[in-house]
Point group: C2
Chain length 138, copies 2
């Protein structure tokens, strides 16, 4: 399967990304010459990871007939200080809100994503440490 | 250095990502239960790569006093067919438009990004083959 995306220079450090017909503006922050008109490129690596595993988990929970009221996935990343400044670690925090949520099923859904379905996790794990936590919120 | 992003479930397969104050909706396509309201997670890995190296190159060219009229970065990615469906290869195509563009300087800027500055390239190269091409457009 093939995918193609394109980014076109606007001005300064801003680029318009075209992703299967959807447009996103990406930009750098002011301290590195940008105008902060959109997300920076590196955090998008984390959004890609969070979205990939979150979609796995929500669809697995649906098949398991587990109903959640709220579901957030937070990713914390650590970047090296020296060039090339790259991710050395990411931690994924799965936060579920709902009535009498069954922790065993939540764990199973998360583990299926991490071990079998989430290709972004697979790619990243070859480059840096990837950990995760599951939290049931009050 | 630390970064944090969050994605919150909206409904179906749609999530709202919050990236340093900027919001992006991500969604799945209709064939996997989504409504295609925003980019899918995996192509965002390619946007992250394109944006990271494109910002390097445009700022290096500015220091070299090379003026380009247009600058696009296209990324072509190949995904495996089997689970976990992950990237097995990406190719970056740098396309420059301008008057009498000096290929040697364009190459130098791209190589500096690929070899020294682009942390996304560094991470990805540990997981799959990453190639690139430079094109001067008519």
């Amino acid at each position: 399967m093939k995918e193609t995306i394109n980014v076109s220079w606007m001005d300064g450090m801003a680029f318009e990304a075209n992703v299967s017909g959807k447009k996103i503006i990406i930009d750098a922050t002011e301290n590195v010459g940008g105008k902060n008109r959109g997300p920076q490129p590196k955090p998008l690596m984390m959004v890609s990871l969070a979205g990939c595993t979150a979609m796995d988990v929500i669809s697995i929970l649906e098949k398991m007939r587990v109903k959640v009221d709220k579901f957030n996935v937070r990713v914390e990343g650590e970047l090296t200080e020296e060039h090339p400044k790259h991710f050395s670690k990411m931690n994924i925090i799965y936060e579920f809100t709902g009535k009498d949520l069954p922790m065993a099923k939540l764990k199973k859904a998360v583990n299926l994503s991490q071990d079998r379905y989430c290709g972004v996790s697979y790619n990243y794990r070859e480059s840096f440490e990837l950990s995760h936590e599951i939290r049931i919120m009050e």
